[in-house]
Amino acid sequence: MKKSRIRVLVAKPGLDGHDRGAKVIARALRDAGMEVIYTGLRQTPEQIIETAVQEDVDVIGLSILSGAHMYIFPKIIQMLEEKDMSDILVIAGGIIPNEDIEELKKIGIREIFTPGTDTKKIVEFIKSHVAVA
């Protein structure tokens, strides 16, 4: 099935309240023709997964600046596997040190966009990994 529109869930997991980046990216993705579901702060892994299911998203974008990524991301990946949803493209951004990036990519975060990333790069990455009509 050829999709006419890419659907992306932009999520703020955990207690981190810095949402400037998430909001800027949500807008950039919208301006690139995508449908962006943004559910606000303090999302638990359960909420993120359930939203991803109901909204049948192609991409989950996780934004975290609090240093809790090594706990929260594996949990989300694990839950996606349990629900047989590993075909969803999972990407992340925020404050994530280089040494953690390797580890996270191994468990299934496809790409991590660190501070200073051009939003065009994120758009291109998504478009090149999700098939559209």
Binding site: R20, K23, S66, P97, D118
Partner: protein
């Protein structure tokens, strides 16, 4: 001043000298703008000050309207407090970092708490998983607070605590620790951030809804005016608003609007403005554009003085003085070529000093990568010390005053800020404007515009969209001990075992009743923390009565 003569001379210059050069060498850009996209002219001269009167609009430092500074001698009398924000892991580790900083010449403490603490969750709460000790120190009970300040004399050191929703609880713990050190509350010197409005706008560590939150804040104003006369009861913040992407003008406008809301709430509650206003303080951002930032600080002082005098009828000169802490702009620091950040921070710190800040935190070069390593934070501290002792800018008060550019820009910022404040007044004040999403939308738009400018290369970020180079990863980044969470949970269990459970229950119940009445909750919170009730337990009582705030503004 003969303005007519100057006008003629200017025309001559413009038509001849300037035109000759422009014809051959056009300027580098079509439009020159400040960091906030405000247009900057090629030249400023006495004509720009035609409508500015030195005595009325600028005045002398220490006198209304305080444009030049809140003290007559400023740094000639006393340097600003060098106050590095710090904290991570557990209380023992943070205590070690504080002692290191004090040893290296820091003159005041600034406590960073972890997110569970800031949001009133104990380290064993389900929402705390993975977050304990990561962005600040984990404080679950008075026990942790005692360890945090072990060996630090609270009658000598002034402490700023970046805590908002549960500020009352942490303040109570601080008072209790001081008591154990034999220091009475009236000797305590410090600040709690305690600014909930900006949490809803830009920072996100809220717990309760707006109305009960304002009640807690005004309870603190009242309690401190009677018991902690040297304590700054609030740090009305623009830093985070700027970090969220606002312009300089928006930073001041929304901060002062929030300030107005707090004063309003306190006055409505029956507090005498001159009793609590002297202890209100502010917290601003020091961003890249040096001159715009200096003008911004001066404009803020003048506007607040006017607002307190004209709008609230304050009579005590101390009520009119805007005293502020500054932090250099974290959002401007890059992950690429981190050493460049040292230079950025230097310029930003310089802006804060030239702007007359009372207290300053300089970010470390690894800001975009992690919490500061010991080496990096030392460089940040040294930055302040070099400016203070080697640069000469501290030798005279408000050195940039009289600059045509600075005075004109100060005035322009004042006018633009007042426009916003009037708009917010029309919406019903800051709390209503926040409810309607107005302030958040303005900030989001500025943030998006900035991103577009950087991506279109209209704004250069060295090392990021220009002057890039192959990177080596920065080594020796700080890592928070992953065992902290388990250790903290164990400590929490031990506290619960060794305390008097009946007493705790009783005190928590008393607090709940007080929260449900008109009483000031501070004394009840103090009793709770002394019985070693945990932060989570105290906040849960308040949650039961006040409810919880839910993020609900659509983007």
């Amino acid at each position: 001043m003969d303005y007519k003569q100057i006008k003629e001379a200017k025309k001559q210059w413009s038509d001849n000298t300037l035109k000759k050069i422009l014809d051959r060498f056009p300027e580098r850009k079509d439009k020159f703008v400040t960091g906030s996209n405000k247009e900057v002219k090629g030249l400023y001269d006495p004509l720009d000050l035609e409508n500015i009167n030195y005595l009325e609009d600028i005045g002398y430092p220490g006198d209304y309207p305080y444009t030049r500074g809140v003290q007559p001698t400023m740094y000639r009398g006393r340097l600003w407090t060098m106050r590095q924000y710090a904290g991570f892991g557990d209380a023992e580790e943070s205590n070690r970092r504080y002692k290191y900083l004090l040893k290296n010449g820091q003159t005041g403490l600034s406590i960073a708490f972890d997110l569970p603490t800031q949001i009133g969750y104990d380290s064993d709460h389900s929402m705390s998983h993975g977050e304990v000790g990561k962005v600040g120190v984990a404080i679950d009970s008075l026990k942790d607070m005692e360890i945090l300040f072990e060996g630090i004399p609270l009658e000598k050191v002034s402490t700023s605590m970046t805590i908002n929703a549960p500020a009352a609880v942490l303040l109570a713990m601080y008072i209790a620790v001081a008591e154990k050190q034999g220091v009475s509350a009236d000797k305590l010197n410090g600040t709690i951030q305690n600014d909930i409005l900006k949490e809803y706008i830009a920072r996100g560590t809220y717990i309760f809804p707006p109305l009960p939150s304002m009640r807690l804040i005004t309870d603190i104003f009242d309690y401190c005016s009677k018991n902690l006369p040297k304590w700054n009861t609030i740090s009305i913040s623009g830093y985070h608003i700027r970090e969220a992407g606002s312009t300089a003008i928006q930073e001041i406008a929304f901060t002062l609007a929030n300030g107005i809301a707090y004063v309003d709430a306190a006055v409505k509650k029956g507090l005498d403005v001159d009793k609590f206003a002297p202890r209100l303080s502010f917290f601003f951002n020091a961003h890249n554009d040096l001159f715009e930032e200096v003008a911004k600080f001066r404009a803020a002082r003048k506007l607040w003085a006017k607002i307190m005098k004209e709008r609230f009828g304050a009579k005590n000169p101390k009520s009119l003085m805007l005293r502020f802490h500054t932090q250099t702009a974290g959002c401007t620091l890059t992950a690429q070529q981190p050493d460049n950040n040292i230079i950025r921070v230097t310029l930003q710190a310089l802006a804060a000093v030239l702007g007359g800040t009372q207290s300053l935190h300089t970010n470390s070069r690894d800001e975009a990568l992690s919490l500061p390593s010991q080496k990096s934070v030392r460089i940040a501290l040294r930055t302040q010390q070099v400016i203070a002792h080697e640069s000469g800018v501290t030798e005279t008060v408000d050195p940039l005053a009289g600059s045509f550019y600075i005075e004109k820009t100060t005035r322009e910022i004042e006018d633009a800020v007042m426009d916003y404040i009037n708009q917010i007044d029309k919406l019903g004040g800051a709390p209503k404007a926040i409810e309607k999403g107005f302030i958040q939308k303005e900030i989001q738009n500025s943030a998006y515009d900035y991103q577009k400018d950087v991506e279109d290369k209209k704004r250069v970020v060295v090392g990021v969209n220009q002057f890039q180079s192959e990177e080596e990863t920065m080594k020796d980044l700080l890592k928070v001990n992953p065992k902290i969470e388990k250790q903290q949970i164990k400590k929490l269990e031990e506290v619960k075992i060794s305390r008097k459970e009946n007493e705790v229950k009783e005190k928590l119940n008393d607090l709940k009743e007080a929260a449900n009445s008109d009483k000031n909750v501070m004394p009840f919170i103090l009793e709770c923390v002394k019985s070693y009730a945990t932060l989570g337990e105290v906040c849960d009582q308040l949650r039961d009565i006040f409810g919880e705030y839910k993020d609900s503004i659509k983007i």
